[in-house]
Symmetry: C2
Subunit: 596 residues, 2 copies
Amino acid sequence: MKSEKFNVFWGFPVLSSDAISSVAYAGEEILWVLVPVLGLLSYGSMFYVALSIVFLMILVAFSYRQTIDAYPQGGGSYIVAKDNLGVIPGLIAGASLLIGYVLTVAVSMSAGTAAIVSAIPSLLPYKVPITFAFIFILTVGNLRGIRESAKAFGLPAYLFILVILVMIVVGIFKVKVMKYEPEPLYEIPTMVSDITLVLFLRAFSSGCTALTGIEAVSNGIPNFRSPSQTNAKRVLELMSLAMLVIFGGIAYLATLYHAVPNPDMTVVAQIAYQVFGGNALFYLVQVMTAIILIMASNTAFADLPLLLSIIARDGYAPRQFTKRGKRLGYSNGIIALGIISAILVILFKGDVHSLIPMYAVGVFISFMLSQAGMFMKWIRERSRGWFHKAAVNGLGTVITCVTAAIIGITKFTSGAWAVFVITPVLVYVMFSIKRHYNEVARQLSLSLDERPKEKIDFMKQKRYVIVPIDSVNKSFLKALNYARSISENIVIFHVSVDDAATDALLKKWREYNVGIPMVVKKSPYRSIRSPLLQFIESDEYGAGPKDTVTVVMPQLVINKWWANLLHNQTSLFIRTRLLTKRNIAIVTIPYLIFED
Amino acid sequence: MKSEKFNVFWGFPVLSSDAISSVAYAGEEILWVLVPVLGLLSYGSMFYVALSIVFLMILVAFSYRQTIDAYPQGGGSYIVAKDNLGVIPGLIAGASLLIGYVLTVAVSMSAGTAAIVSAIPSLLPYKVPITFAFIFILTVGNLRGIRESAKAFGLPAYLFILVILVMIVVGIFKVKVMKYEPEPLYEIPTMVSDITLVLFLRAFSSGCTALTGIEAVSNGIPNFRSPSQTNAKRVLELMSLAMLVIFGGIAYLATLYHAVPNPDMTVVAQIAYQVFGGNALFYLVQVMTAIILIMASNTAFADLPLLLSIIARDGYAPRQFTKRGKRLGYSNGIIALGIISAILVILFKGDVHSLIPMYAVGVFISFMLSQAGMFMKWIRERSRGWFHKAAVNGLGTVITCVTAAIIGITKFTSGAWAVFVITPVLVYVMFSIKRHYNEVARQLSLSLDERPKEKIDFMKQKRYVIVPIDSVNKSFLKALNYARSISENIVIFHVSVDDAATDALLKKWREYNVGIPMVVKKSPYRSIRSPLLQFIESDEYGAGPKDTVTVVMPQLVINKWWANLLHNQTSLFIRTRLLTKRNIAIVTIPYLIFED
């Protein structure tokens, strides 16, 4: 990544795509709440809802400026909360972030598909497969390292901003100057009630998705060219400005053109269609919207695996997530994200509107913990200007906490409950993993006193070796020859489940006449493993409880992967069971089969 | 099973449940075709459709009598077709049977749930979870051996027959004698067209599901007390009679009471409700219907694993299916059946009507091949009375072939196509498996000349041993001690992906001062396996291409199963890769961790 550090011009589009793209659906989400109740009156109320969200946006952006100053190495909510509030708040923030990233992919991909099918309605029945295909392509792409060409995404982002700005200007001009009177494309429901506080809050919660992604810049500071903090702050400012203008502009256009949310055509598509007509510019808006939404998912594909690897390095997630693939991506995290978001898309039938309630609440919980962490930092450090800084983050904490509560309550039954169930479960799992790793480390740790002091005289070792047999064939012979190379004290062991087969085996073995005894045990319950273990532990066998018994088993290895599933089940089961015994060593001798 | 052999009284209910239960939905399936087109006129046409199916039923039953005579060890379609027509027809019959059994479970379980929700409509939204739960219970039950208490299912089957007979008698009496005029529970659609040949054939195909399960007796002959063939024939006759009466009776009641098929209430439930009113008898009919349908699934749980084990013993299916569990059930077959049928239920949302088209076609293909096999047998053997017998089975072949064709054509687009896709795929897979097993057997087979002639002097063996290291801990030490017990020629091998960690490891290793050299290789691409393989093959290491290199690796074994997923990934990958090399032996040394 060294050569890929961002200046402001490239950092802005790459790190802002998540935040800016969310305006593609945030305005629509507000209308989903208002229009069915208020009808035509919605477009008046929308102004105030949008205004509240813009206010929230400015406040959050200001708070994050301070995080950029304080965490030049990148201050994700997990790190900020863990450093300043403790492990549990850190893990809660981490869990909310993980949920948020998964939903970023599910929501953005679904919204991207919605933009495409709005332009090409004949694709409507294929929404889920299209979204699925996008996720698949992005997963594979990230495994193969497309992240490094993220810069190539910069131009389309600028083009998106440009084309939306053009749409806003032309849209306002057409109505205000040319006195064009828009015809709504869909019927506006008749009003059934006036605006209430509850309705307003519900609309506000829905619109809060506009803020998702705003934290990306503060995570990404190390990716900036120096002076990285200054550049990051500059990008944050530009991003906030772009979000304000685009979100405000689209909200305003929606009121002018009376867009009606529905499952077939997005609000942005309705506006674009009315402003430009069904010409190339309309299609350009849709394509650019889809592209910026895919870019937004791509940032989640970069960020979630990184976050998981940080959590895993702290011991709270499986260590596999710290492993980088050959192309330096955290492969396991990328695959996990792809699979889980694809499942979500299928469960929710690729419908943005039903995914949103879960999305916003997780994001705001992580905002809140990050703000609270910063607040505690200033209070504790009391560095220069701490009071002013603490005031900004304190206000941020209160407002994001209130917002999270509003979203949690108003959206509880429509999906937010899931976040309140999954987050504690994730935190519990992360704790259990950490406790487990600690316990294993304790049991494995070795002090200098325990080092082997005397030399083992390997010539004097009594080596007990058992070779299980099922039939006399080449793979058995290879295992037997290895056994003969490490010991003279070999027993061939056969479990009989079928008398006729056993007799045939014994006869063949006598013909071979190698001079090694075969022990045969009957297994009335057809279990192969128990008789072997019983024999090893019995007095009949010479090995005492302190002796190590070596079991040599051949394993067929076939050059067709699927064919391996047709073999080796028995030896696999024996292996698994034997491994639970302390004094056993299992030797696996591969026997290669080539098939064409 | 010895003590569990059936006399006629118990064999009849246990082996007939599949066949008899299918009448619970066969009549309804006919009406699904007729009612939307013919409206009120359907009930007249239904008589002729039912009559044709009754005729088919008698013919098939007669043909199967001859199979019972000829195959006292049980003559499933797979065996009969394979013996008399050759391997490919045998495998086609086997594949169709497998598909049929899976659909028996999916259809019967869905129909059982339909019977229950017809009685308790508030359960309607939970159809899929209820069906899923039934399948789960039956799978677990069969794994634990409930099959052996199959006799306990006998009484409910008699009770089902009894209660349906009472319903038929009372239903006819009420209309014909008491001159009751039934009010249909649902609106009958207005007629849109008159009966056509195509419509008649489609209705006929739908009703053919009534015959599914009729072959069960001929498979189950060894389960009868002697004289087993006579007893089996007696049961077949009783079963055919019961099917005739119940199918005919329900079809007749449906015409009298104008039952209208719909997704909420089954036809049988509608009839029972009109005949008995909403009282206990209505609920009894529903409960008994559900129970006999669950019994029908249970026969599939007994038969499919058995069939799979026979196919596997012939080498056409993975050998795992020949393995019996501790309770003598073929566990893998049971689990496979449970999973696949559950997936089908979810895919088809537990809707009997949409599963049926696939069901009947597979069943009739296996009927046809079984009949054709019997026909060829008589022609070839020319034993006493062969001409008469060949005539019966020849007619059976023609009629079942025509029926299979009718079902295949009329139901092609509504699901039968899947059978025509899946069957060849299954046959191809079975062939590939057989070819594979043959090839492996050829490569493994050992002639007497190849037996080891000279004694290996194990003291003179040069043993090359490598112990990979990641950190100096107790599990590594255990592996190292084992290595020291089999060789003096040990190399400790470390792959460095992080310089600082490697320096710390080397420092610690020097402190331990065991006197065994450590080889360190850098891995720029973070792969652990390649450097190890390269080292083994390099000139730097002493082993030549003919020497066997032993790699000793510790494996953590933790008493909590999930915790094992958090470890051992690296050693697992190394293992997999090393096993593809001819001259390597892998020693696994378990290190046990106890956690509470």
